[in-house]
């Protein structure tokens, strides 16, 4: 087969070693606990921290799903690159759009005329 940009360890998790159920149960438990935590934290008013905490927990949970349920932990660099670029482009879209909204008021465009 052709040589690829990625290193050759592209075998999915199942093929690389004897399949084990344990990581799946651990991941599931982790996710459930995190769900509980995010709910509890949201009950308290932490100001802007609420959003940050909720989103951080969501990112942790998503990472866990990607790494363990979706086997990216054992996947090729190419797969990892694909995942990362998907989220990177999402970040491009969100943050560059927001940069417009954030900076619209900066130049008080017609201030002097007041």
């Amino acid at each position: 087969m052709s040589s690829t940009m990625a290193e050759p360890a592209s075998a999915p998790a199942h093929a690389a070693h004897t399949p084990s159920r344990k990581p799946y149960f651990l991941t599931c438990g982790f996710l459930l606990v995190m769900t509980l935590i995010t709910y509890v934290v949201a009950r308290f008013d932490l100001g802007p921290l609420n959003d940050i905490v909720a989103l951080s927990i969501a990112v942790f949970k998503a990472t866990a799903v990607v790494l363990f349920f979706m086997h990216v932990r054992h996947s090729s660099n190419l797969t990892k690159l694909t995942v990362v670029s998907g989220f990177l482009w999402l970040a491009f879209m969100i943050f560059i759009t927001l940069s417009d909204y954030w900076t619209r008021g900066w130049l008080d465009t017609f201030a002097s005329g007041r």
């Binding site: 949201a42 009950r43 909720a54 998907g86 879209m93 969100i94």
Partner: protein
Amino acid sequence: MLSGSVSASADTGGHGHARLQHHFDDLDQQREASTFGMWVFLCTEILFFGGLFTTYVVYRQRFHGVFAQASRDLNVVWGGTNTAVLICSSLTMALAIWSAQINRRKLIVTFLLITMAFGLTFLGIKTIEYKEKFDHHLVPGPHFHYVCPPGEPCHPEQAEVFFSLYFAMTGLHALHMIVGVGLLSYLLFPSWQGRYTSDWHNPLECIGLYWHFVDIVWIFLFPLLYLIGAH
């Protein structure tokens, strides 16, 4: 080629394997291609939902308070339950693939059925939630009627934007769930027939990736829609 592979590529990887399509050299190439293809597809899905998430983020910044206020009209208990249901369904999906890896075809079918049951539970709960919104006139459009909580700033318009986003995002997600359940049911028969073995269970794996992705979307939707007004 694949290093450390204990799969059957050595004995069935040539042109003899029944699952091998003609234009591939061997089964490993075919497997890698389809898994990679699935990932690339999920990449497009990230950006597909991304358009809605961007819209959400912009309006969330703009209507910060009202979004939190309107979010209280969503049922956190149902939302939380659904989160748990989806997480469990992801577990059973992963276990279905694990069953294929250890060549237990009945176990595959069992786990697929459980996963589908979870998926349908999710959709059922979603239906109940939608029904509630409908009864409370919280569906955007001419019949939208938002009752502001007493003593708080009141912006039915901005609340309508929140509910528009709520329905657009959860609706698109639910659509993906329906497709997912459909795909799982498509897997049932071949699984029962024992087509998916430790050698080759690629459809199972690809659809599993899709299922987990839909789970991830919900992991973000839950706090963004249900929890922002919980305090």
